[in-house]
Amino acid sequence: MRGLPPVLITAIVLVAGFALCAVQFPNIASTRVVGNLLTDNAFLGIVAIGMTFVIISGGIDLSVGSVIGFTTVFVALAIERWGVPPLVAFVAVLALSAAFGAAMGAVIHVFDLPPFIVTLAGMFLARGASFLLSTESVPITAPIYSTVSDFALRLPGGGRLTAIAIIMLVIVLGGALLLHLTRFGANVYALGGSRSTASLMGVAVGKMTVKIYMLSSLLAGIAGIVFSFYTSAGYSLSAVGVELDTIAAVVIGGTLLTGGQGSVIGTFLGVLIQGLIQTYINFDGTLSSWWTKIATGVLLFAFIALQQGLVALARRPVARSAGAAS
């Protein structure tokens, strides 16, 4: 159905890439490597699900990297300096980020501003706020952190499915459910098709905009908490530029950057492709890790070219004979 062909292509790229890597480094095809790949990219996967909703609705959210950074600093300070119980700190930071996203959505709708500008402002705001809290890395030593880090499901073949990987998978599933099976999801596609038409057809465009950006920021907050589990620290410079990796993953996953088409599963595959490239470079050992960016760039370009091709094909005009005088 909708968005399937691009998703299929993404899946083929992932499988082919994995096969190629496995030929060169047979060890890659192990549950251990796959488990690590999921763990390493857990935060990226979570934030990319939110970005998928935003982009399908015809918008963009540049603030997510900064929200992740802010979250890690806030959580670290709350637990280590202010003595707040970790769970309370989590709830507080999620409420903060959700409110932040809702505010951006409201500004976009009420003042009819381009999401690019509003979320760019949000990006500076959140990053600035995290620097205000602390400019140095704050290590987190709370017991819950070691508990969560130690928790993992054993996979056959020695791999570990960590807690944060599980969180990511649950959110991917939940996101897919929300996007593809609910009225909310249908409205997200409707907004991406045309805001004015969706409004004429009865969709509450304003409420939807607020909810979509709220969801994106909320997921960025969860990604921030996951990131703090991953690094056991809060640092105001963490996740710089992650918004761009996220957008890349979404687009490689077959979501149309202009909105209206895309899928959660595609985004998940897009995240895995980026993780796979990173893993390959780690295995190779001689390549600079910046090759990840170069490979991502090439893939991104290829996918956008492909989408444009598909769109152009769909818009091919139908020739009609001139109406002769009857």
């Binding site: 409205n187 098709g193 057809m201 969709v203 004979s321 109406g323």
Partner: protein, 514 residues
Amino acid sequence: MENSLDPAPPLLEVCGISKSFGAVRALQEVDFTLRAGEIHALLGENGAGKSTLIKVITGVFPRDGGIVRLGGEEVAPRSAKAALQAGIATVYQEVNLLPNLSVAQNLFLDRQPMRFGIVREAEMRRRAKALLAGFGLDIDVAAPLGSYSVAVQHVTAIARAVDLSARVLILDEPTASLDRHEVDILFGIMRQLAGRGIGIVFVSHFLDQVYEISDRITVLRNGRLVGERETASLPRLELIRMMLGRELAETTSERASAGEHKAREVCASFENYGKAGYVAPFNLELRHGEVVGLAGLLGSGRTETARLVFGAERADRGQAKVEGASVRLQTPRDGVRLGFGYCPEERKTDGIVADLTVRENIVLALQAKRGLYLPLSRREQDEIARRYIKMLDIRPADPERPVGLLSGGNQQKVLLARWLATSPRLLVLDEPTRGIDVGAHAEIIRLIRELCDDGLALLVISSELDEIVTYSDRVVVLRDRAHVDELTGEAIDVSNILAAIAADGATVAHEGRA
């Protein structure tokens, strides 16, 4: 037919609707009634007020005065959505649905069948299929709407509107992008809906279709109601007269005696020139010192012809010749290079640059023709501007005044001056007198005659038949995007033009129709 419908009170009753935009009165005291189960055509030329009336009824524009009653109760929707909820649905030529969603989602957006917060996709598709089956459509409702033809999209839009319990269905130019077979399907559906008691307003400029489908016709002109008639008892000629506002008996004004025009040199000729889906191939000769008028109803292919002649649109067949030699004419640049000029109909958007001064507007085309590397000196510019301001009597005679501050007639003169400055051989004028007051009107007509006497070839489009008759040496009549007739010499008068426009596809006689 006339009496069987009468006893029922009107389904939709519009009384004394007025609407102004600034100083322009778009609608003045317009009445309109729609009965349950009838198909009612709403007709009028460009600017007659059809769109404004629809938008006022559906609440897109607030109205200045008047009332709208639906089923006897007064309604005042404040948005298209509110009108829809009240039972008035509009389907525009540009289908207002979402091409990226499935057909089923489009039909049920925001009212999908749900269970436990999950859309019941299978149930929704089943209902969508059943709904469309009622319209004779058997398609895969899970496929994106955009993958289907415009006709299917129209039917989907109508199905959605009707399913939202519409009692009044307004179809604005629904057939403009459909082929004959699709039109038949649409008409079948319209008849079926009318049979169910839904009142349908049908806006179209295809008169054949209006006669085929409608029960009654309401004609608007210049924002006023001209009349409401039974279709069956309204001859086509009478209808066109209502739309164009001309009495057949009206005498033609004094014409410059033509006759020797055959002897004139051919400036440009077009053989079997046309573009598929745009204008049917035509033959056209334009001679020096001659005005050719293009007459026809809105949408008959007048502007399209003008754009092909100038090169604003690329022809896909036929041959253009200038002074006897074959030429390449594919872009406006080619047109300018060949010495053609074009004053488009939409003066404000396609013609003048409102913020620039009169002088800058006048030298624009000449500078473009000379190229960037041969700038006109300020002295030359002043000289040119002064010459044309004097020649065309542009007022106020201030070359440094922004054109946006001039009256419509003077803006038109500035446009004329712009092309005259390039010393063209052929000038195409699309509705040169639209929106100009009466005095300026006469002056523009005088200018057209003068330019012609100076040896220029002119191709002029106008909806004002009197006007065309006054200055044209030949009149080409268009209908349904094809050139159907050419009148010359004594044959040029309003009644002959009307007869040619109204001719029902059969032979066209020039003599004595009245």
